[in-house]
Symmetry: C2
Subunit: 282 residues, 2 copies
C-alpha cells in the first residue's frame, strides 16, 4: 500500500499577515505548501519552515517553471501587491509571450486586471483557488459581530448604500460608500476606503454633516468581483477611521468580506462603540 501523494499548493504572497495564515491553514488541511514571495511585498523572514522562492512581478516564465518542476496545479493569490504600471514590469520570456493578453488586462479597472491574470494562469492548466477556502472564520456569515447593534436608521442607510454600490458595480468601481442623514456622503473611487473615511472625517470637522447624523460605512464586493484574487477587507484601521469619521458602524457582505485580524477588529469596534454587521449578500 502506498500513501496518497500529498496535494500541493502554491501561494503567491503579497504583503500582510494573510499569506502566512493561508499557508498555515492549508498545511493543516493536508497541503504541501510552496510560497512564491513577491519581491518588495512579502518578507522572506515571515515564512520560516515553508519552502519559498522569491520572484519579481513580471517573472512569469520562472514562476510557471517553478510550479511545473514541483508538479503543482493549485494556486492561491493573497496579500497586497501595489498595482504595477505595465512599463515597470521587468519582463522575462514567459511574460513577453503573454504580452498582448497582459497589456489587454492592464487596460480597465482592477477586476479586469486580476481577471486577466486568472485567465492567463488557467490557460496554463493551473487552478486558481479562493483564499477564503483557507480563511474560514475571517469571512463571517451574516449577523452582528460587535456588541453594538445597528439602529433602525443605520439599517435604512445600509439598504441605501447597498443600492448605490449595486448601481455602480457595472462600472468596476464602488466597493464602499458612506451614508449619513439619508444622504450618500462619499463614494469610494481608487483612493481606497481609508482615504474615503478620512474625507468624511474632514467633512464632519468642517460642519458639513449634522452632528446628530452619525452614518454608516457600507463595504461590499463588486458584483462579479473575483473573490479568488481580490477580497474587500475590513480591519483595525477601518474601525479606527470609521470612528474618527463619527460613524455609527460598518456593514459588510456576509461570506465575502475579509475580517483581517478578527479578534482585534471586533475588540476595537466594541471599545469604540461601533457596530460591525455582516449583511446577507449574494
Amino acid at each position: 500500500m502506498t500513501t496518497p501523494a500529498p496535494r500541493r499548493l502554491a501561494i503567491i504572497a503579497g504583503s500582510g499577515d494573510l499569506p502566512l495564515q493561508v499557508g498555515i491553514q492549508a498545511r493543516r488541511d493536508g497541503f504541501e505548501v510552496f510560497f512564491v514571495l513577491i519581491a518588495g511585498s512579502a518578507r522572506p523572514e515571515d515564512f520560516n519552515g515553508f519552502e519559498t522562492t522569491k520572484l519579481r512581478l513580471g517573472q512569469l516564465g520562472r514562476f510557471l517553471k517553478s510550479l511545473r518542476t514541483r508538479d503543482i496545479k493549485d494556486v492561491v493569490i493573497i496579500g497586497a501587491v501595489v498595482r504595477p504600471a505595465l512599463g515597470d514590469l521587468v519582463p522575462d520570456f514567459g511574460l513577453l509571450r503573454h504580452y498582448f493578453a497582459i497589456r489587454h488586462a492592464f487596460k480597465g479597472g482592477d477586476d479586469h486586471l486580476l481577471g486577466g491574470m486568472v485567465r492567463l494562469l488557467e490557460n496554463q492548466g493551473l487552478t486558481v483557488r479562493a483564499p477564503s477556502e483557507f480563511l474560514g472564520e475571517l469571512m463571517p456569515p451574516s449577523g452582528t459581530l460587535s456588541a453594538m447593534k445597528p439602529s433602525r436608521t443605520a439599517l435604512d442607510e445600509i439598504d441605501r448604500g447597498k443600492a448605490v454600490l449595486e448601481a455602480l458595480s457595472a462600472f468596476d468601481i464602488g466597493q464602499a460608500v458612506v451614508v449619513a442623514d439619508s444622504r450618500i456622503v462619499a463614494v469610494e473611487g481608487i483612493e481606497g476606503t481609508d482615504q474615503m473615511l478620512a474625507r468624511v472625517a474632514s467633512l464632519r470637522a468642517a460642519g458639513r454633516l449634522k452632528p446628530s447624523a452619525r452614518g454608516v460605512l457600507v463595504k461590499l464586493p463588486k458584483r462579479g468581483q473575483d473573490l479568488r484574487v481580490d477580497m474587500p477587507t475590513v480591519g483595525p484601521a477601518t474601525i479606527r477611521n470609521a470612528a474618527e469619521a463619527g460613524l455609527e458602524g460598518i456593514a459588510i457582505a456576509a461570506n465575502a468580506v475579509l475580517l483581517a485580524d478578527r479578534p482585534r477588529t471586533i475588540a476595537l469596534a466594541d471599545s469604540s462603540g461601533l457596530f460591525l454587521h455582516a449583511i446577507d449578500w449574494s
Copy 2:
C-alpha cells in the same frame, strides 16, 4: 392709452456674481427687479441701483409679505447659500406655519431640500423661474468651447463618465466623476467638485495614475435635478483644479451647466491646454 404694467421679478440672491448678472439681464428684458438679499451671503453694496431688502434664512413670513406688498408673482433663486442646519434657522411666524413641510424637505439630499422649497413657494401662488432664462450665453449649447478638442480617448471616457452619473442619478448624488485610463478614478460625494479634483491631483502625485493617462472631468446635472434652483457650475477654479489634476479636459452638459465668468473660464482653459466641451444631454 395706458402703458402696460411692468412685469415684476423678485431675485432671491445668495453670494457670487450671478445674482447681479441675472438682475441686469432681467431689467434689459423689461422686468422691474426686486432683490431679496440673503444676509451673510449677498453683499448689499453690489446691488446699487436696484430695490433691495435683506432677509435672514428663515424669515419666510417677511419674505412672502414683501412680495405681496409689491404684487410680485415671479421669483428666481440664484447664488450660493450655505446649506443651513434646520436648527440654525431663525424662524419667523411664516416659517413656523410651514415647519413640517420644511422639516420634511431637510431630510434627504439637496434635490429634496430645494424641491421642497420650490413647492412651498409655489403653494403660495408664486412662480419659480429658471435663472437660465436670464443667463443666455452662460449656458452653452453642445460643442467644444475651447481651442483644444477632446481626443478619441477622452470621448470614450466622457461616455463612461456619463453612464456612471446616470446610474447614480437615482440616489440624489453624482454631479461629477473623473475618468482616466478607462477607469472611474473619483466620484463626487458631498465634498464638491473642487475637492474631488484636489483628490485626483493627490492620487496622481502619489503615482496612482499612469502619467500617460490624462483623463477627463465629466459634470452633468442629476436626472430630475431642478435647474431653477440648483445648476451645476463650472468656472475658472474648476479649470485650474482640473489642470492641477493633470486632466485633458472637462465635459459638461449642453444647456444645463452654468459657465461662470465665461470669457475668463474659456481663456484659462486655452492657456492651460485643456478642452472644455459641452455634450448633448437631455
